[in-house]
Symmetry: C2
Subunit: 160 residues, 2 copies
């Protein structure tokens, strides 16, 4: 099987197959005399594995670990599970960050007229988040919960 056929069969582009080979993620296949790569069904299987893992958000290095575990018939499932669980944690961290951003922005957008006037709480917040701390003076207790909910006045994320 040529690289193009392997690409179709695995849903991994030829470009990426070559790349994965170059970084040692997958093993280099044999070549024809014309230097064409020749893939076996097993190789396609591995490529699909990689594809699936990438779709689940694993980094290349994590995929490398998973592939090693997959090949190691005497692995402990605990090792696989810990890789997966750590990734779930990473995902959840990222989700929380994005949600904080979305909440803040949604809140700001809600308070923006969105018409022809230049007045804009969104720009005001970007220019000076502290100044938008008290957009409506008075009755702070009623808003307490909502403000906590939108986290508008924090940095939304603490990037690593």
């Amino acid at each position: 099987m040529n690289i193009g056929q392997a690409a179709k069969a695995s849903n991994v582009t030829a470009k990426m197959i070559r790349y994965y080979e170059s970084i040692g993620l997958i093993t280099a296949p044999i070549r024809t005399q014309a230097n064409y790569r020749v893939y076996a069904n097993e190789d396609v299987h591995a490529l699909r594995f990689v594809k699936r893992a990438r779709n689940l958000g694993f980094s290349i290095e994590e995929v490398r670990e998973l592939l090693a575990l997959w090949r190691d018939k005497s692995r402990a499932s605990a090792d696989v599970k810990s890789v997966a669980m750590k990734h779930v944690q990473d995902l959840e961290t990222k989700i929380a960050e994005l949600q904080a951003m979305a909440r803040t922005l949604s809140h700001l957008a809600r308070t923006c007229h969105g018409d022809g006037r230049p007045d804009c709480p969104i720009l005001a917040d970007l220019a000076d988040p502290a100044a938008s701390l008290a957009p409506v003076p008075g009755k702070p207790k009623r808003k307490a919960r909502q403000e906590a909910d939108c986290a508008c006045h924090e940095d939304a994320t603490l990037p690593a």
Copy 2:
């Protein structure tokens, strides 16, 4: 103010300040005779604006638009709002993708013993998602809702 001081005041590294200048995101400041950059308070203000927008997940190009709107005193708030709303949508799309991944993986991890045995549904799924469609034959109706909920057997994401 030197670049180091501007960096501290804006919480943007000197490295990034130079970069933002190089791509025309911020205007080049005047220089001393020794070629040192000299920043005014306004510049720091703009840098804080950029920082805040970046923290909210806007791309550099989006920040560029927002800065232009900020400087344009006759902007329409609708224009700002639309940039913000589009970004909220992007964030929500991304969140949904990550959640789909997390759901799938959590489900797989839950079904994995996580002990010394090599048996592992996680690897099994990576190797062949279709095969893990019916891990427990029979009573499919009872699982219908749960399966829909975890999306395990779809690609989890449809990357752009």
